[in-house]
Protein backbone atom coordinates (compact mmCIF):
# COMPACT_ATOMS: atom_id res chain seq x y z
CA UNK A 1 0.00 0.00 0.00
CA UNK A 2 1.42 3.33 -0.97
CA UNK A 3 1.45 6.38 1.26
CA UNK A 4 -1.07 8.27 -0.84
CA UNK A 5 -3.61 5.42 -0.59
CA UNK A 6 -3.25 5.52 3.17
CA UNK A 7 -3.87 9.25 3.18
CA UNK A 8 -6.91 8.69 0.99
CA UNK A 9 -8.30 6.10 3.38
CA UNK A 10 -7.81 8.44 6.32
CA UNK A 11 -9.56 11.18 4.43
CA UNK A 12 -12.53 8.91 3.71
CA UNK A 13 -12.84 7.80 7.34
CA UNK A 14 -12.73 11.43 8.52
CA UNK A 15 -15.34 12.43 5.99
CA UNK A 16 -17.70 9.65 7.10
CA UNK A 17 -17.21 10.39 10.79
CA UNK A 18 -18.18 14.00 10.12
CA UNK A 19 -21.19 12.80 8.16
CA UNK A 20 -22.19 10.50 11.02
CA UNK A 21 -22.07 13.40 13.44
CA UNK A 22 -24.35 15.46 11.24
CA UNK A 23 -26.79 12.58 10.80
CA UNK A 24 -26.96 11.85 14.54
CA UNK A 25 -27.52 15.52 15.31
CA UNK A 26 -30.36 15.87 12.83
CA UNK A 27 -32.00 12.68 14.08
CA UNK A 28 -31.75 13.77 17.71
CA UNK A 29 -33.19 17.19 17.01
CA UNK A 30 -36.06 15.51 15.16
CA UNK A 31 -36.76 13.12 18.03
CA UNK A 32 -36.46 15.79 20.72
CA UNK A 33 -39.48 17.60 19.29
CA UNK A 34 -41.64 14.96 20.91
CA UNK A 35 -40.68 15.32 24.56
CA UNK A 36 -43.96 13.99 25.96
CA UNK A 37 -43.51 10.97 23.75
CA UNK A 38 -40.10 10.47 25.36
CA UNK A 39 -41.70 10.05 28.79
CA UNK A 40 -44.49 7.74 27.56
CA UNK A 41 -42.00 5.63 25.61
CA UNK A 42 -39.68 5.43 28.58
CA UNK A 43 -42.49 4.22 30.78
CA UNK A 44 -43.48 1.58 28.23
CA UNK A 45 -39.84 0.48 28.01
CA UNK A 46 -39.78 -0.07 31.78
CA UNK A 47 -43.00 -2.11 31.69
CA UNK A 48 -41.61 -4.28 28.91
CA UNK A 49 -38.40 -4.84 30.86
CA UNK A 50 -40.58 -6.18 33.67
CA UNK A 51 -42.46 -8.39 31.23
CA UNK A 52 -39.15 -9.73 29.91
CA UNK A 53 -37.96 -10.56 33.42
CA UNK A 54 -41.17 -12.13 34.72
CA UNK A 55 -40.90 -15.54 32.98
CA UNK A 56 -37.28 -15.78 34.09
CA UNK A 57 -38.21 -15.09 37.70
CA UNK A 58 -41.07 -17.63 37.62
CA UNK A 59 -38.94 -20.30 35.93
CA UNK A 60 -36.09 -19.88 38.39
CA UNK A 61 -38.59 -19.78 41.22
CA UNK A 62 -39.37 -23.39 40.32
CA UNK A 63 -35.77 -24.57 39.80
CA UNK A 64 -32.28 -23.64 41.02
CA UNK A 65 -30.79 -24.40 37.62
CA UNK A 66 -32.18 -24.71 34.10
CA UNK A 67 -30.08 -26.37 31.39
CA UNK A 68 -26.95 -25.67 33.43
CA UNK A 69 -27.67 -21.96 34.00
CA UNK A 70 -28.31 -20.36 37.37
CA UNK A 71 -30.63 -17.38 37.83
CA UNK A 72 -27.78 -14.87 38.05
CA UNK A 73 -26.10 -16.25 34.92
CA UNK A 74 -29.37 -16.21 32.99
CA UNK A 75 -29.82 -12.59 34.11
CA UNK A 76 -26.56 -11.72 32.35
CA UNK A 77 -28.08 -13.11 29.15
CA UNK A 78 -31.22 -11.00 29.70
CA UNK A 79 -29.02 -7.94 30.22
CA UNK A 80 -27.27 -8.58 26.89
CA UNK A 81 -30.62 -9.07 25.25
CA UNK A 82 -31.91 -5.76 26.65
CA UNK A 83 -28.72 -3.99 25.58
CA UNK A 84 -28.92 -5.32 22.04
CA UNK A 85 -32.63 -4.61 21.81
CA UNK A 86 -31.85 -1.02 22.74
CA UNK A 87 -29.24 -0.86 19.98
CA UNK A 88 -31.58 -2.56 17.53
CA UNK A 89 -34.60 -0.37 18.20
CA UNK A 90 -32.69 2.80 18.93
CA UNK A 91 -30.21 2.85 16.09
CA UNK A 92 -30.73 0.04 13.59
CA UNK A 93 -34.38 -0.63 12.85
CA UNK A 94 -35.76 2.96 12.68
CA UNK A 95 -33.45 3.83 9.79
CA UNK A 96 -33.80 0.58 7.99
CA UNK A 97 -37.58 0.59 8.22
CA UNK A 98 -37.43 3.91 6.41
CA UNK A 99 -35.56 2.24 3.53
CA UNK A 100 -38.55 0.02 2.86
CA UNK A 101 -40.70 3.13 2.60
CA UNK A 102 -38.14 4.75 0.26
CA UNK A 103 -38.19 1.74 -2.05
CA UNK A 104 -41.97 1.66 -2.17
CA UNK A 105 -42.32 5.37 -2.87
CA UNK A 106 -39.34 5.61 -5.19
CA UNK A 107 -37.72 8.27 -3.01
CA UNK A 108 -34.56 6.20 -2.67
CA UNK A 109 -33.42 8.16 -5.74
CA UNK A 110 -32.66 11.14 -3.52
CA UNK A 111 -30.40 9.04 -1.32
CA UNK A 112 -28.64 7.41 -4.24
CA UNK A 113 -27.88 10.81 -5.80
CA UNK A 114 -25.94 11.97 -2.75
CA UNK A 115 -22.15 11.71 -3.00
CA UNK A 116 -21.73 9.17 -0.19
CA UNK A 117 -22.22 5.44 0.29
CA UNK A 118 -25.95 4.69 0.15
CA UNK A 119 -25.81 1.96 2.79
CA UNK A 120 -24.09 4.34 5.18
CA UNK A 121 -26.61 7.09 4.53
CA UNK A 122 -29.71 4.97 4.98
CA UNK A 123 -28.29 3.21 8.04
CA UNK A 124 -27.63 6.42 9.94
CA UNK A 125 -30.73 8.34 8.93
CA UNK A 126 -32.76 7.91 12.12
CA UNK A 127 -32.13 7.38 15.83
CA UNK A 128 -34.50 7.08 18.75
CA UNK A 129 -32.74 8.67 21.72
CA UNK A 130 -35.31 7.50 24.27
CA UNK A 131 -33.87 3.98 23.94
CA UNK A 132 -31.21 5.25 26.36
CA UNK A 133 -33.68 4.11 29.03
CA UNK A 134 -33.35 0.53 27.82
CA UNK A 135 -29.59 0.94 27.85
CA UNK A 136 -29.67 2.06 31.48
CA UNK A 137 -32.01 -0.83 32.30
CA UNK A 138 -29.53 -3.26 30.76
CA UNK A 139 -26.71 -1.82 32.87
CA UNK A 140 -28.88 -2.15 35.97
CA UNK A 141 -29.54 -5.82 35.23
CA UNK A 142 -25.81 -6.44 34.66
CA UNK A 143 -24.91 -4.89 38.02
CA UNK A 144 -27.66 -6.78 39.85
CA UNK A 145 -26.65 -10.10 38.24
CA UNK A 146 -23.00 -9.74 39.20
CA UNK A 147 -23.91 -8.70 42.74
CA UNK A 148 -25.93 -11.91 42.98
CA UNK A 149 -22.93 -13.85 41.66
CA UNK A 150 -20.73 -12.14 44.24
CA UNK A 151 -17.89 -11.46 41.83
CA UNK A 152 -17.08 -9.00 39.07
CA UNK A 153 -15.71 -9.72 35.59
CA UNK A 154 -11.93 -9.44 35.08
CA UNK A 155 -10.62 -6.74 32.71
CA UNK A 156 -9.78 -9.45 30.17
CA UNK A 157 -13.33 -10.76 30.27
CA UNK A 158 -14.69 -7.22 29.94
CA UNK A 159 -12.48 -6.68 26.91
CA UNK A 160 -13.69 -9.89 25.28
CA UNK A 161 -17.27 -8.87 26.07
CA UNK A 162 -16.70 -5.53 24.34
CA UNK A 163 -15.38 -7.34 21.27
CA UNK A 164 -18.54 -9.42 21.37
CA UNK A 165 -20.68 -6.32 21.68
CA UNK A 166 -19.22 -5.07 18.40
CA UNK A 167 -19.61 -8.51 16.87
CA UNK A 168 -23.21 -8.91 18.03
CA UNK A 169 -24.18 -5.44 16.80
CA UNK A 170 -22.56 -6.12 13.44
CA UNK A 171 -24.39 -9.41 13.10
CA UNK A 172 -27.69 -7.88 14.11
CA UNK A 173 -27.18 -5.06 11.64
CA UNK A 174 -26.18 -7.48 8.88
CA UNK A 175 -29.30 -9.57 9.30
CA UNK A 176 -31.37 -6.39 9.16
CA UNK A 177 -29.67 -5.36 5.95
CA UNK A 178 -30.57 -8.78 4.54
CA UNK A 179 -34.20 -8.28 5.56
CA UNK A 180 -34.30 -4.80 4.06
CA UNK A 181 -32.66 -5.98 0.85
CA UNK A 182 -35.66 -8.24 0.41
CA UNK A 183 -37.69 -5.04 -0.02
CA UNK A 184 -36.11 -4.56 -3.45
CA UNK A 185 -37.63 -7.81 -4.63
CA UNK A 186 -40.95 -8.12 -2.81
CA UNK A 187 -41.62 -4.47 -1.80
CA UNK A 188 -43.92 -5.21 1.17
CA UNK A 189 -41.68 -6.32 4.02
CA UNK A 190 -42.93 -4.30 7.01
CA UNK A 191 -44.19 -7.53 8.45
CA UNK A 192 -40.79 -9.14 8.04
CA UNK A 193 -39.46 -6.65 10.56
CA UNK A 194 -42.09 -7.79 13.07
CA UNK A 195 -41.15 -11.39 12.34
CA UNK A 196 -37.53 -10.51 12.93
CA UNK A 197 -38.41 -8.85 16.24
CA UNK A 198 -40.47 -11.80 17.40
CA UNK A 199 -37.67 -14.25 16.62
CA UNK A 200 -35.14 -11.98 18.30
CA UNK A 201 -37.24 -12.14 21.48
CA UNK A 202 -36.14 -15.75 21.96
CA UNK A 203 -32.62 -14.36 22.51
CA UNK A 204 -33.39 -13.48 26.11
CA UNK A 205 -32.93 -17.15 27.01
CA UNK A 206 -29.59 -18.97 27.13
CA UNK A 207 -29.31 -21.02 23.97
CA UNK A 208 -28.88 -24.24 26.00
CA UNK A 209 -32.55 -24.30 27.04
CA UNK A 210 -33.40 -25.18 23.43
CA UNK A 211 -31.12 -28.23 23.58
CA UNK A 212 -33.96 -30.74 23.85
CA UNK A 213 -36.25 -29.40 21.11
CA UNK A 214 -36.44 -31.55 17.96
CA UNK A 215 -33.15 -33.27 18.82
CA UNK A 216 -31.32 -29.96 18.96
CA UNK A 217 -32.62 -28.67 15.62
CA UNK A 218 -33.84 -25.44 17.19
CA UNK A 219 -30.51 -24.85 18.90
CA UNK A 220 -28.79 -25.45 15.57
CA UNK A 221 -31.07 -22.90 13.87
CA UNK A 222 -30.49 -20.31 16.58
CA UNK A 223 -26.73 -20.81 16.31
CA UNK A 224 -26.09 -20.95 12.58
CA UNK A 225 -29.11 -19.70 10.64
CA UNK A 226 -30.50 -16.96 12.89
CA UNK A 227 -27.47 -16.63 15.17
CA UNK A 228 -29.11 -15.65 18.45
CA UNK A 229 -26.41 -17.55 20.35
CA UNK A 230 -23.79 -15.24 18.90
CA UNK A 231 -25.78 -12.17 19.94
CA UNK A 232 -26.71 -12.93 23.55
CA UNK A 233 -25.51 -16.29 24.93
CA UNK A 234 -21.86 -16.14 23.80
CA UNK A 235 -21.36 -12.53 24.91
CA UNK A 236 -22.85 -13.41 28.29
CA UNK A 237 -20.54 -16.40 28.55
CA UNK A 238 -17.62 -14.17 27.63
CA UNK A 239 -18.51 -11.84 30.47
CA UNK A 240 -18.92 -14.77 32.85
CA UNK A 241 -15.56 -16.23 31.78
CA UNK A 242 -17.24 -19.42 30.56
CA UNK A 243 -16.68 -19.13 26.83
CA UNK A 244 -14.43 -21.73 25.20
CA UNK A 245 -11.70 -20.26 22.96
CA UNK A 246 -12.82 -22.38 20.01
CA UNK A 247 -16.40 -21.04 20.33
CA UNK A 248 -15.12 -17.48 20.49
CA UNK A 249 -13.04 -17.91 17.34
CA UNK A 250 -15.88 -19.62 15.53
CA UNK A 251 -18.24 -16.79 16.52
CA UNK A 252 -15.82 -14.15 15.25
CA UNK A 253 -15.53 -15.98 11.93
CA UNK A 254 -19.30 -16.28 11.71
CA UNK A 255 -19.78 -12.57 12.32
CA UNK A 256 -17.35 -11.66 9.54
CA UNK A 257 -19.11 -14.01 7.14
CA UNK A 258 -22.51 -12.49 7.96
CA UNK A 259 -21.23 -8.94 7.46
CA UNK A 260 -19.60 -9.76 4.11
CA UNK A 261 -22.58 -11.63 2.74
CA UNK A 262 -25.03 -8.92 3.74
CA UNK A 263 -22.92 -6.18 2.11
CA UNK A 264 -22.82 -8.17 -1.13
CA UNK A 265 -26.57 -8.81 -1.03
CA UNK A 266 -27.23 -5.11 -0.44
CA UNK A 267 -25.10 -4.18 -3.46
CA UNK A 268 -26.96 -6.65 -5.65
CA UNK A 269 -30.29 -5.38 -4.31
CA UNK A 270 -29.34 -1.80 -5.21
CA UNK A 271 -28.66 -2.89 -8.76
CA UNK A 272 -32.20 -4.31 -8.84
CA UNK A 273 -33.69 -0.97 -7.86
CA UNK A 274 -35.71 0.71 -10.54
CA UNK A 275 -37.15 3.96 -9.37
CA UNK A 276 -40.83 3.31 -8.77
CA UNK A 277 -41.99 6.91 -8.77
CA UNK A 278 -43.78 8.49 -11.67
Amino acid sequence: MTLSMLADARHVVRRYLRLLRVQVRTATIGAMQYRADFVVRGFIALIWMGVALAPLIVVFGARQQVAGWTFAEALVVVAWFTLLKAVLEGAVSPSLTAVVEHVRNGTLDFVLLKPADAQFLVSTAKFEPWRIIDLLGALGIFVYAFRLLGRWPHPAQLLLALVFLVLATTTLYSIWILVVSAAFWVVKVDNLSYLFGSLFDAGRWPIDVFRGVFRGALRFAFTFIFPLALMTTYPAQALLGKLATSTALFALGGGVVFATVSRQVWKRALRMYTSASS
Partner: protein, 267 residues
Protein backbone atom coordinates in the same frame (compact mmCIF):
# COMPACT_ATOMS: atom_id res chain seq x y z
CA UNK B 1 -84.85 -1.04 10.57
CA UNK B 2 -81.19 -0.04 10.36
CA UNK B 3 -80.27 -3.21 12.17
CA UNK B 4 -82.15 -5.33 9.65
CA UNK B 5 -80.42 -3.56 6.81
CA UNK B 6 -77.06 -4.07 8.46
CA UNK B 7 -77.71 -7.76 8.97
CA UNK B 8 -78.69 -8.12 5.32
CA UNK B 9 -75.41 -6.48 4.32
CA UNK B 10 -73.35 -8.68 6.62
CA UNK B 11 -72.75 -11.66 4.28
CA UNK B 12 -71.48 -9.28 1.59
CA UNK B 13 -69.24 -7.52 4.08
CA UNK B 14 -67.87 -10.91 5.14
CA UNK B 15 -67.13 -11.83 1.52
CA UNK B 16 -65.29 -8.55 0.98
CA UNK B 17 -63.25 -9.15 4.14
CA UNK B 18 -62.39 -12.67 3.07
CA UNK B 19 -61.19 -11.64 -0.37
CA UNK B 20 -59.07 -8.93 1.23
CA UNK B 21 -57.32 -11.50 3.42
CA UNK B 22 -56.84 -13.78 0.42
CA UNK B 23 -55.39 -10.89 -1.59
CA UNK B 24 -52.77 -10.23 1.09
CA UNK B 25 -52.13 -13.89 1.89
CA UNK B 26 -48.34 -13.58 2.11
CA UNK B 27 -48.62 -10.81 4.69
CA UNK B 28 -51.25 -12.81 6.51
CA UNK B 29 -48.92 -15.80 6.78
CA UNK B 30 -45.97 -13.71 7.95
CA UNK B 31 -48.23 -12.20 10.62
CA UNK B 32 -49.18 -15.69 11.76
CA UNK B 33 -45.51 -16.62 12.03
CA UNK B 34 -44.79 -13.65 14.30
CA UNK B 35 -46.80 -15.36 17.02
CA UNK B 36 -44.19 -17.82 18.20
CA UNK B 37 -43.56 -16.89 21.81
CA UNK B 38 -45.74 -19.74 23.20
CA UNK B 39 -43.53 -22.25 21.39
CA UNK B 40 -40.38 -20.68 22.84
CA UNK B 41 -41.94 -20.79 26.31
CA UNK B 42 -42.91 -24.41 25.68
CA UNK B 43 -39.27 -25.27 24.97
CA UNK B 44 -38.18 -23.57 28.17
CA UNK B 45 -40.76 -25.23 30.43
CA UNK B 46 -39.88 -28.57 28.85
CA UNK B 47 -36.31 -28.08 30.00
CA UNK B 48 -37.61 -27.10 33.46
CA UNK B 49 -40.09 -29.98 33.85
CA UNK B 50 -37.62 -32.63 32.68
CA UNK B 51 -36.93 -33.70 36.26
CA UNK B 52 -40.42 -33.43 37.70
CA UNK B 53 -43.70 -31.56 37.47
CA UNK B 54 -44.24 -27.89 38.38
CA UNK B 55 -47.50 -27.87 40.36
CA UNK B 56 -50.11 -29.62 38.21
CA UNK B 57 -47.93 -29.20 35.12
CA UNK B 58 -45.74 -32.03 33.88
CA UNK B 59 -44.04 -31.97 30.45
CA UNK B 60 -47.14 -33.25 28.69
CA UNK B 61 -49.38 -30.67 30.38
CA UNK B 62 -47.02 -27.87 29.34
CA UNK B 63 -47.12 -29.16 25.76
CA UNK B 64 -50.93 -29.19 25.76
CA UNK B 65 -51.12 -25.78 27.42
CA UNK B 66 -48.77 -23.90 25.11
CA UNK B 67 -50.03 -25.54 21.92
CA UNK B 68 -53.54 -24.49 22.94
CA UNK B 69 -52.28 -20.96 23.75
CA UNK B 70 -50.70 -20.76 20.32
CA UNK B 71 -53.88 -21.95 18.61
CA UNK B 72 -56.32 -19.79 20.61
CA UNK B 73 -54.14 -16.72 20.26
CA UNK B 74 -53.96 -17.12 16.48
CA UNK B 75 -57.70 -17.73 16.24
CA UNK B 76 -58.77 -14.75 18.31
CA UNK B 77 -56.30 -11.94 17.61
CA UNK B 78 -57.22 -9.02 15.35
CA UNK B 79 -55.32 -6.06 13.92
CA UNK B 80 -58.30 -3.72 14.27
CA UNK B 81 -56.43 -1.38 16.64
CA UNK B 82 -53.73 -0.67 14.04
CA UNK B 83 -56.31 -0.26 11.33
CA UNK B 84 -58.43 2.14 13.36
CA UNK B 85 -55.62 4.33 14.62
CA UNK B 86 -54.20 4.58 11.11
CA UNK B 87 -57.56 5.33 9.52
CA UNK B 88 -58.57 7.88 12.12
CA UNK B 89 -55.31 9.71 11.50
CA UNK B 90 -55.70 9.80 7.72
CA UNK B 91 -59.42 10.58 7.67
CA UNK B 92 -60.84 7.35 6.25
CA UNK B 93 -63.76 7.24 8.76
CA UNK B 94 -65.26 10.23 6.90
CA UNK B 95 -66.13 7.95 4.00
CA UNK B 96 -67.11 5.06 6.25
CA UNK B 97 -69.52 7.20 8.24
CA UNK B 98 -71.43 8.03 5.08
CA UNK B 99 -72.30 4.41 4.43
CA UNK B 100 -75.64 3.10 5.67
CA UNK B 101 -73.91 0.52 7.90
CA UNK B 102 -72.33 1.39 11.26
CA UNK B 103 -68.51 1.47 10.82
CA UNK B 104 -67.97 -0.80 13.83
CA UNK B 105 -70.34 -3.31 12.27
CA UNK B 106 -68.28 -3.18 9.08
CA UNK B 107 -65.03 -3.59 11.06
CA UNK B 108 -66.44 -6.64 12.82
CA UNK B 109 -67.36 -8.27 9.49
CA UNK B 110 -63.95 -7.55 8.05
CA UNK B 111 -62.17 -9.13 10.99
CA UNK B 112 -64.57 -12.01 11.46
CA UNK B 113 -63.97 -12.91 7.83
CA UNK B 114 -60.35 -13.72 8.64
CA UNK B 115 -61.31 -16.30 11.25
CA UNK B 116 -61.98 -19.23 8.83
CA UNK B 117 -58.56 -18.75 7.24
CA UNK B 118 -56.99 -18.48 10.66
CA UNK B 119 -58.75 -21.71 11.62
CA UNK B 120 -57.30 -23.36 8.53
CA UNK B 121 -53.77 -22.28 9.46
CA UNK B 122 -54.29 -23.32 13.07
CA UNK B 123 -55.76 -26.76 12.31
CA UNK B 124 -52.34 -28.50 12.20
CA UNK B 125 -51.69 -27.20 15.72
CA UNK B 126 -54.96 -28.73 16.88
CA UNK B 127 -53.98 -31.99 15.17
CA UNK B 128 -50.63 -32.04 17.01
CA UNK B 129 -52.45 -31.18 20.21
CA UNK B 130 -54.79 -34.12 19.69
CA UNK B 131 -51.99 -36.59 19.03
CA UNK B 132 -49.73 -35.47 21.87
CA UNK B 133 -52.26 -34.88 24.63
CA UNK B 134 -55.63 -36.11 23.30
CA UNK B 135 -56.51 -37.85 26.55
CA UNK B 136 -56.37 -34.60 28.53
CA UNK B 137 -58.46 -32.44 26.23
CA UNK B 138 -62.03 -31.41 26.94
CA UNK B 139 -63.25 -33.28 23.84
CA UNK B 140 -64.27 -36.32 25.91
CA UNK B 141 -66.70 -34.26 27.97
CA UNK B 142 -69.51 -32.71 25.87
CA UNK B 143 -70.35 -30.17 28.57
CA UNK B 144 -66.77 -28.91 28.90
CA UNK B 145 -66.37 -28.91 25.13
CA UNK B 146 -69.46 -26.74 24.77
CA UNK B 147 -68.14 -24.34 27.42
CA UNK B 148 -64.76 -24.26 25.68
CA UNK B 149 -66.36 -23.37 22.35
CA UNK B 150 -68.54 -20.68 23.95
CA UNK B 151 -65.47 -19.29 25.70
CA UNK B 152 -63.65 -19.10 22.34
CA UNK B 153 -66.47 -17.04 20.88
CA UNK B 154 -66.46 -14.90 24.03
CA UNK B 155 -62.68 -14.44 23.82
CA UNK B 156 -62.90 -13.28 20.21
CA UNK B 157 -65.56 -10.72 21.05
CA UNK B 158 -63.82 -9.55 24.20
CA UNK B 159 -60.58 -9.00 22.30
CA UNK B 160 -62.38 -7.33 19.41
CA UNK B 161 -64.27 -4.87 21.63
CA UNK B 162 -61.27 -3.99 23.79
CA UNK B 163 -59.21 -3.42 20.63
CA UNK B 164 -61.97 -1.23 19.19
CA UNK B 165 -61.92 0.71 22.45
CA UNK B 166 -58.15 1.22 22.23
CA UNK B 167 -58.41 2.06 18.53
CA UNK B 168 -61.16 4.62 19.16
CA UNK B 169 -58.84 6.39 21.61
CA UNK B 170 -57.01 7.61 18.51
CA UNK B 171 -59.87 10.14 18.25
CA UNK B 172 -58.60 11.71 21.48
CA UNK B 173 -54.84 11.22 21.57
CA UNK B 174 -51.90 10.81 19.25
CA UNK B 175 -50.14 8.00 21.08
CA UNK B 176 -53.02 5.50 21.15
CA UNK B 177 -50.66 2.89 19.75
CA UNK B 178 -48.27 3.55 22.64
CA UNK B 179 -51.11 2.76 25.00
CA UNK B 180 -51.71 -0.42 23.02
CA UNK B 181 -48.07 -1.44 23.53
CA UNK B 182 -48.54 -0.96 27.25
CA UNK B 183 -51.68 -3.05 27.08
CA UNK B 184 -49.78 -5.83 25.25
CA UNK B 185 -47.18 -5.98 28.01
CA UNK B 186 -49.77 -6.29 30.76
CA UNK B 187 -51.75 -8.77 28.67
CA UNK B 188 -48.67 -10.98 28.21
CA UNK B 189 -48.41 -11.54 31.97
CA UNK B 190 -52.04 -11.45 33.14
CA UNK B 191 -53.65 -13.50 30.34
CA UNK B 192 -51.53 -16.61 30.73
CA UNK B 193 -49.81 -15.99 27.39
CA UNK B 194 -46.25 -16.23 28.73
CA UNK B 195 -46.77 -18.27 31.88
CA UNK B 196 -49.70 -20.49 32.95
CA UNK B 197 -51.56 -18.46 35.56
CA UNK B 198 -51.46 -21.38 38.01
CA UNK B 199 -47.68 -21.25 38.10
CA UNK B 200 -47.59 -17.53 38.94
CA UNK B 201 -46.99 -16.33 42.52
CA UNK B 202 -50.28 -16.26 44.51
CA UNK B 203 -50.51 -12.46 44.80
CA UNK B 204 -50.59 -12.02 41.01
CA UNK B 205 -52.95 -14.95 40.61
CA UNK B 206 -55.59 -13.12 42.65
CA UNK B 207 -55.39 -10.13 40.32
CA UNK B 208 -55.71 -12.30 37.21
CA UNK B 209 -59.11 -13.57 38.39
CA UNK B 210 -60.50 -10.04 38.50
CA UNK B 211 -58.87 -8.44 35.45
CA UNK B 212 -60.33 -9.08 31.97
CA UNK B 213 -57.08 -10.42 30.44
CA UNK B 214 -57.52 -14.00 31.63
CA UNK B 215 -60.86 -14.23 29.84
CA UNK B 216 -59.20 -13.41 26.52
CA UNK B 217 -56.81 -16.36 26.55
CA UNK B 218 -56.11 -18.24 29.76
CA UNK B 219 -59.68 -19.26 30.48
CA UNK B 220 -60.51 -20.77 27.04
CA UNK B 221 -57.12 -22.50 26.98
CA UNK B 222 -57.51 -23.98 30.46
CA UNK B 223 -61.00 -25.21 29.64
CA UNK B 224 -59.80 -26.70 26.37
CA UNK B 225 -56.94 -28.68 27.91
CA UNK B 226 -59.16 -29.97 30.73
CA UNK B 227 -57.77 -27.97 33.65
CA UNK B 228 -61.22 -26.66 34.63
CA UNK B 229 -64.14 -28.33 36.43
CA UNK B 230 -67.73 -27.90 35.27
CA UNK B 231 -68.75 -25.56 38.06
CA UNK B 232 -65.80 -23.18 37.84
CA UNK B 233 -65.85 -23.18 34.02
CA UNK B 234 -69.52 -22.20 33.99
CA UNK B 235 -68.99 -19.48 36.54
CA UNK B 236 -66.05 -18.04 34.62
CA UNK B 237 -67.95 -18.22 31.36
CA UNK B 238 -70.54 -15.94 32.96
CA UNK B 239 -67.80 -13.53 34.05
CA UNK B 240 -66.34 -13.59 30.53
CA UNK B 241 -69.63 -12.79 28.83
CA UNK B 242 -70.26 -10.11 31.41
CA UNK B 243 -66.98 -8.52 30.37
CA UNK B 244 -68.00 -8.87 26.71
CA UNK B 245 -71.19 -6.90 27.37
CA UNK B 246 -69.32 -4.28 29.38
CA UNK B 247 -66.64 -3.65 26.75
CA UNK B 248 -69.22 -3.71 23.96
CA UNK B 249 -71.08 -0.86 25.67
CA UNK B 250 -67.95 1.12 26.58
CA UNK B 251 -66.34 0.81 23.14
CA UNK B 252 -69.57 1.92 21.48
CA UNK B 253 -69.83 4.96 23.77
CA UNK B 254 -66.18 5.94 23.26
CA UNK B 255 -66.56 5.55 19.50
CA UNK B 256 -69.70 7.67 19.46
CA UNK B 257 -68.16 10.47 21.51
CA UNK B 258 -65.03 10.23 19.37
CA UNK B 259 -66.92 10.58 16.11
CA UNK B 260 -68.47 13.78 17.43
CA UNK B 261 -65.10 15.42 17.87
CA UNK B 262 -63.73 13.93 14.67
CA UNK B 263 -62.73 16.45 12.04
CA UNK B 264 -61.99 14.56 8.85
CA UNK B 265 -58.52 15.35 7.66
CA UNK B 266 -57.69 14.92 4.02
CA UNK B 267 -60.12 14.35 1.19
Amino acid sequence: MTLRRAIRAYPTLLRVGLSEVVAYRAEFLVWILTTNMPLVMLAIWHAVAKDGAVGRFDQKEFTAYYLAVQAVRLLTSTWVVWQMSMEIRDGTPAAKLLRPVHPLFAYSAEHLAAVPLRALVVSPIFAILYFTAGDRLAIHDPMLLAIALASLVGAWMLIFFTMVLLGALAFYMESALGLFELWLGIHAIFSGYLIPLEVLPPWIRGATRVLPFRYMLGFPVETLVGLETHASALRELAVQWGYVGFFFAVSLLVWRAGVRRFAAYGG
